[in-house]
């Protein structure tokens, strides 16, 4: 089980300063990142993946700073799904997913399993660029599945944003299963229903600072969320627990709107 730890890293990106303080997402749990656009969720995930060098402080993976770790070593323990996947060559879906194991042995079964987990089995031989937006996003998730080893770190940057509800439900199950198997999962999302299903813990980042870190049960509530996100929240009672939902308005029965 890997231990990921934000040790007061400070990262300046132009006018923006990322300074979340001390945060340690727990292994075996899913930590969901929420917060306003430009708050720093992507910055947090990229920094956790070693893509950004902190000017002060550090982000540690099992005690070692991630951004100075050799890429291959880091990749063996940590997989990232970027907010905007890019593939600059005419590869097939399977080719792209196999890249998750570019440095380690990749049995065809393993790749096939990763494809299946993201619902891509039918699409495996299609050119990546002939897929729809949501399908492409699922390819990136499948690549992370192929790369991920039990007990590693999974960093998901809005990996659900373009995914349809049934596939999102499947991905939620898969990711929770990884966490149950010991993975440290850090997932950014704006979708409170995804967050409700996925989160053990919630980390809220705004203006580059942590504004809250705690159990989902306490933070993903009608009481706590409005002050964290600045939006009205309603609650639905699903078959497997309470679901928080942003209240943008809804459907009024009969009466004209």
């Amino acid at each position: 089980m890997s231990a990921l730890r934000f040790q007061s890293p400070i990262i300046a990106r132009g006018a923006f300063m990322f300074a979340p303080g001390e945060v340690a997402p727990s292994a075996g749990r899913v930590t969901v990142l929420i917060g306003p656009n430009g708050g720093g969720k992507t910055t947090a995930l990229r920094a956790a993946a070693g893509m950004l060098a902190p000017e002060q402080g550090a982000i540690l993976l099992d005690g070692a700073p991630v951004h100075t770790m050799p890429a291959a070593q880091r990749a063996a323990r940590m997989a990232l799904v970027a907010q905007r996947p890019e593939v600059g060559a005419p590869f097939s879906v399977r080719d792209v997913v196999a890249l998750g194991r570019v440095l380690r042995p990749a049995s065809p079964e393993r790749i096939a399993h990763a494809l299946a987990r993201s619902g891509l089995t039918q699409l495996a031989d299609r050119p990546f660029h002939a897929l729809s937006g949501g399908q492409q996003q699922r390819v990136a998730v499948a690549r992370a599945f192929a790369q991920h080893e039990p007990g590693g770190v999974l960093l998901l940057d809005e990996a659900f944003a373009a995914v349809d509800p049934p596939e999102a439900a499947a991905l939620v199950r898969e990711i929770r299963a990884e966490a149950a198997a010991g993975a440290t999962v850090l997932a950014a999302t704006h979708d409170l229903s995804v967050a409700s299903a996925l989160a053990d813990d919630v980390w809220c980042i705004a203006g580059g600072r942590s504004t809250a870190f705690g159990a989902a049960r306490e933070l993903l509530t009608r009481a706590a969320l409005p002050s964290l996100l600045g939006v009205a929240v309603a609650e639905a009672h699903g078959s497997r627990g309470t679901i928080a939902v942003a209240d943008y308005g809804g459907i009024l029965p009969e009466a004209p709107r």
Partner: protein, 331 residues
């Protein structure tokens, strides 16, 4: 278009290249204008064998470099030429000629050109690499622009040196700057170029999957474990050295490094594990075929310049493939 059967494409290209080799070895046009097939005996045969070895080594080195650079720079116009290395080597030779002329020494030829060509090439490569370090990592756009500019300045340097040379030495340099396949090559240069071609092709094939990974965004490439910075640097240096070895052997040979990868991509797809060897085979075949064609075509003024035959032959082949596959750089 997705390529389902890359190995068939590679086999096709290998066969075509073998035909080109056989053609260069066995067919010439005689003085009275007829094409004659046969082995000319040991001495002349050796010339043909050596020419084929040179063409294959140089073509393979250029093809493999071009494929790797197009992948790494994510630009279909990338080629060994844009690294500035070719022009750097040219400038090295031009200044060596000028220095010899000023010192009153005989103009350097053959093997004696290898050293200045190599020196010029490596100097240019060093400048380009230095210029394109940004925040410690190589930036593809800066590299491509830096390479073009360093190349332009180096070419200007050759032009100046050429202008300063006495005219009877100028022809020799101009001849060299056209590029040629020597029939009696300097064996050291040939060995170096062949080694560079094999090494680079092997490296490209062995690291083919990592090179594929470089097609992802920088973040994603790093996240799957590719040390993007070191890989870019290593590959650029590898391509630069291979190009330098080629230029030392044959002078600057244009277009092969640009066209061969595109021909290969149209036939075997974009996976570098196969693309790099395929581009090497395509380059070797292209250059050998152009050298063979040049022995046969006579439009009244003797043999055509190698560069011209390469450009026409390779260009037409590429256009056909471009139309036929309706596949291009992407998707």
């Amino acid at each position: 278009m997705m390529q389902r059967r890359p190995m068939i494409g590679l086999a096709l290209m290998a066969v075509a290249s073998c035909i080109a080799v056989a053609a260069r070895l066995l067919v010439v046009r005689t003085l009275d204008g007829s094409l004659v097939v046969g082995w000319p005996g040991p001495t002349l045969g050796q010339f043909r064998v050596d020419a084929v070895l040179v063409a294959c080594s140089a073509g393979a080195a250029l093809g493999a470099s071009g494929a790797i650079l197009q992948t790494l720079l994510r630009n279909p116009l990338a080629s060994p030429f844009v690294l500035g290395v070719t022009s750097g080597a040219g400038a090295g030779v031009a200044f060596a000629s000028l220095a010899a002329s000023i010192a009153g020494m005989a103009a350097p030829t053959g093997a004696a050109l290898g050293a200045p060509a190599l020196a010029g090439a490596l100097l240019a490569l060093g400048c380009v690499l230095l210029l394109s370090r940004r925040h410690g990592a190589l930036d593809p756009i800066t590299l491509i622009l830096g390479g073009v500019i360093v190349g332009a300045i180096a070419s200007a340097g050759s032009t100046v040196a050429e202008a300063l040379l006495p005219p009877e030495r100028r022809g020799l340099l101009t001849g060299w700057l056209f590029g040629r396949i020597p029939e009696v090559p300097d064996m050291g240069s040939l060995a170096a170029c062949a080694a560079a071609a094999l090494g680079l092709t092997g490296l490209g094939a062995a690291w083919g999957n990592r090179l594929d990974g470089a097609a992802l965004s920088d973040d994603e490439a790093r996240s799957i474990g590719i040390a993007l910075g070191p890989m870019r640097t290593a590959m650029f240096i590898g391509c630069g050295v291979a190009t330098a070895a080629t230029v030392a052997l044959c002078g600057p040979i244009a277009f092969v490094g640009l066209l061969a990868p595109h021909c290969a991509r149209a036939l075997v797809g974009a996976r570098n594990r196969i693309l790099v060897p395929a581009a090497a085979v395509a380059g070797a075949g292209l250059l050998t075929a152009a050298d063979a064609l040049r022995q046969w075509i006579d439009i009244g003024g003797g043999r055509l310049p190698l560069g011209a035959v390469t450009a026409v032959f390779g260009g037409v082949a590429f256009l056909v493939l471009l139309r036929r596959t309706a596949a291009g750089w992407m998707a």
